[in-house]
Symmetry: C2
Subunit: 109 residues, 2 copies
DNA sequence: TTGACGCGTAGGAAATTTCCTACGTATCAT
DNA sequence: ATGATACGTAGGAAATTTCCTACGCGTCAA
């Protein structure tokens, strides 16, 4: 969990994930997109691979990285209580507004 | 967007957000929960406030911090294309499996 | 076999982050 | 008034991250 957030904390790594939405790529082609040395990209990919957000497939002397977004489910799960909290606040607000100026549709007959 | 991810990247800041799910608290009481000096907590709260995840209410010599989770909507939006990607992969897998061993329910009559 | 190419990693410099203590300001109780 | 308390921020040390060049290993073509 911590590791997923840490992996996503760097803009370059998020850009790499976004790039992989279009399909697998090599470290070199990814490095070309962003003006960054290939070894630097390789290290970022290593981090992403460490949390399972990316997998690799060897093809001769090329190595293709592809997106494996399953770990992002953890992020969605983390988000859950905050969305509940937010919905709770909205309904509280509705209650307050209701008390001060009840809408006709919600009035009891 | 970048700032939201940066703010969430630190475990202590995520813990602070979780603590605030239970209601507003002061920097001191938060510092007591985690064995951390109050000024350190104050700086983390400053970061959270900077991205709008936390708001403060002055009450005498106390200052209560409360959770304002709206910016997390950005995170959910960021997640969207990856969930689509994931659903796409699942349906692709289903197609492949279907071709190899079509399930009776899905057969055309 | 040899030269070129793609790759990951090591080593280290630079930048950033994190955490502390020390301070000055504002508020409450005596 | 004054002592205690809660606060934010400044300044700096330590740890971490990030990025580069240099290297060695495997793979393909000639």
């Amino acid at each position: 969990m911590d590791h997923v957030f840490a992996a996503l904390s760097h803009p370059v790594r998020r850009d790499l994930l976004a790039a992989l939405l279009d399909g697998p790529e090599t470290a070199q082609s990814l490095a070309d997109r962003y003006e960054m040395a290939r070894p630097s990209v390789a290290e970022h990919l290593k981090v992403l691979r460490g949390v399972g957000l990316v997998s690799e497939r060897q093809a001769g002397r090329n190595r293709y990285y592809s997106l494996t977004p399953e770990p992002l489910a953890l992020l969605r799960a983390w988000l859950e209580p905050y969305e509940q909290f937010w919905r709770g606040r909205v309904s509280q607000l509705a209650t307050v507004l209701d008390a001060h100026a009840p809408s006709p549709q919600r009035r009891s007959p």
